[in-house]
Subunit: 408 residues, 2 copies
Amino acid sequence: MFTKNQLKKYASLVLKVGVNLQKNQELVIFSPVECAPVTRILVEEAYKEGASLVRVRWEDEKVNRLNYLFADIDKLSDVPDYQVKERDYMLDNKVAYIAIDADDPNIYNGIDEKRLSICAKKRGIAFKKWREATMNNEIRWCVCSLPTLAWAKQVFPNSKTPLKDLTVKIKETMRLDSKNPVKAWEKHLKTLNKRAKFLNRQNFEYLEFKNSLGTDLRVGLAKNHLWLAAEEMAKDNIKFTANIPTEEIFTCPHAFKVDGVLKSALPLCYQGNIIDNFSISFKDGKVVDFSAEKGSETLKELIETDEGTYRLGEVALVPKNSPIAKQKILYFNTLFDENASSHLAIGKAYPTTVKNGSNLTKEELVKLGVNDSTEHVDFMIGTSDLSVVGVKKSGEKITIFSDGDFVI
Amino acid sequence: MFTKNQLKKYASLVLKVGVNLQKNQELVIFSPVECAPVTRILVEEAYKEGASLVRVRWEDEKVNRLNYLFADIDKLSDVPDYQVKERDYMLDNKVAYIAIDADDPNIYNGIDEKRLSICAKKRGIAFKKWREATMNNEIRWCVCSLPTLAWAKQVFPNSKTPLKDLTVKIKETMRLDSKNPVKAWEKHLKTLNKRAKFLNRQNFEYLEFKNSLGTDLRVGLAKNHLWLAAEEMAKDNIKFTANIPTEEIFTCPHAFKVDGVLKSALPLCYQGNIIDNFSISFKDGKVVDFSAEKGSETLKELIETDEGTYRLGEVALVPKNSPIAKQKILYFNTLFDENASSHLAIGKAYPTTVKNGSNLTKEELVKLGVNDSTEHVDFMIGTSDLSVVGVKKSGEKITIFSDGDFVI
């Protein structure tokens, strides 16, 4: 599907712009077994970039499905110590970490949500240190994607060549057809950084989201919040880009200052199940009501995961004319869909989205309004008629978005 | 390649006759990523047999090759603690363990033997507890195989359908075409057990191996040695079969009582390299000279691994008319080739091949002549004209093998 040349460009992009692999650094790749042919090329290219060692941790969602269906739930939900130690090893050795996200969006369809949720909760607790460290940029990491057949069939149900079609579209989102994708991305990231800088200068108190679907939401922003693009600075002062592709700029909502109602703009694929046409109401930052036309049980399990999943942890702006939005494809995969639409996240906020956040204690973060949770799940609210107004402490209002696009 | 029905038979055989999976037992499968379609069926069938949980640890020899080629050797040879802990978990939880052996016999061709050997030695030390436990039947385990393309091309270099051809042959060795392979195996294992019992009654002091290739070797047997077939009793008193297919009966040579010279009858594939037409001389149990027409460096690295790789750890008898021998195929894979030919092993002996061996201390085992090492590598010496004579303490000689076949 990819030409050899495109694969090299792909690898180069993920290694240089993504994790920004340094000479003599160790790289760990979490890859679906189905992606082995491409993952091997990633390994080879990583060595050309000077990796000291590349470890691949293979995963298979089809085996995971069988486990969710049939395993003893106590055994399945238990996270053995060696798996926690593996993540500790990655943190201790400051590895670069690439996750290849290529899930079948429906892989866990029909599985008892309770079982999925028990496992998610236990994993959330077991991998707490890992999650906090990655969200705190203690290592450089990148989530990217590769096309797989089951997923492609979901995106292009009527196509005779779904895998080919998905490949073409993913290549577009990654700008792989440009002569030098690394340069194209450097330019693109500059644009995103400019937007973030502009919003940082405004220092809004809150944002008002409105559209014809019925979204009418006031999202307070955390004290000292910072707008960021996916290109960030890791703790070691080396840049990296946590998602490829990425079209968003994002910041930290105030965990206790969200009021009103939101309507979903796109389906959300969570734990191999699709949640669609959902609505969530907030008061003082907390979810007080929710419903969904499809996947309401899955939404319930998500919101009831812990204290922090009743509150927001991210607010992100994506214009309706972003390259991914313009494709007018529903990927059923957040890495893509979140870059086609403005979005929010339920759960833990990135400490890096407040000033000096990665050096603050948990208590200091809470004081600023930075939410904590074992989860972080993005969902899309941006429609083509979305308006977003920023409100300053002085009461001054500035329209940021009109008809789904930036007006700043 | 396999029909659905054959796959179910395959799974049933490996689960029932192989690891003899019990209700509510956990199963761990080490599988090449290439074997995913069959491995998933193994997982599903294991749940039907009552597994409490099935974990699959995927491996990829192609990534391993890249690592051997390019990684920093200190990093690559270091075995992180979490990998040792994973094996500890398997032992502590008394899992059933299936290893799918489907290596490309030439996968590490051209790689510096020193690098392979440094890694093998460090792994040998790190996984010492694991190796001792499995060789001591502390858990039930089974090595089985599945056809893969690179391997098939090596076995059938002139075929247009190598994968199909290898599949047909492997199915034959596993008796998958019989109506009820599990029953066929029970019958076959009975025959092997009978042979072992006969030899146990003889209680030979040593065996004399001779053939026209030039093998002229006197192999002392350990005190209290036991002849076994692959169907053994695990520590929990539940039967299992450590290899499928298997055609051998085997016992423990005396580490200090091997004299003479042996000539290889088949190539040996060790660490992704082929060693062929080799010769080894022994005095008082120890290797005193060796040479090989092909792969002499690899043979050198094997023999020089540690003290124990200078001595033997297994002697096994396989008749020239064994179903695998009759196929007249060179598999370049010991699981098959060792069942086409009588063989010996360099390195650690199975404690279970002496009476009450799994309950003896290291010192007690050494006293009986049971060899210890971080390695255990089988190699084939059985030709169609091999003769094996058993010599008793009284001096009485009994011919066991004549012209490559049992005469008992």
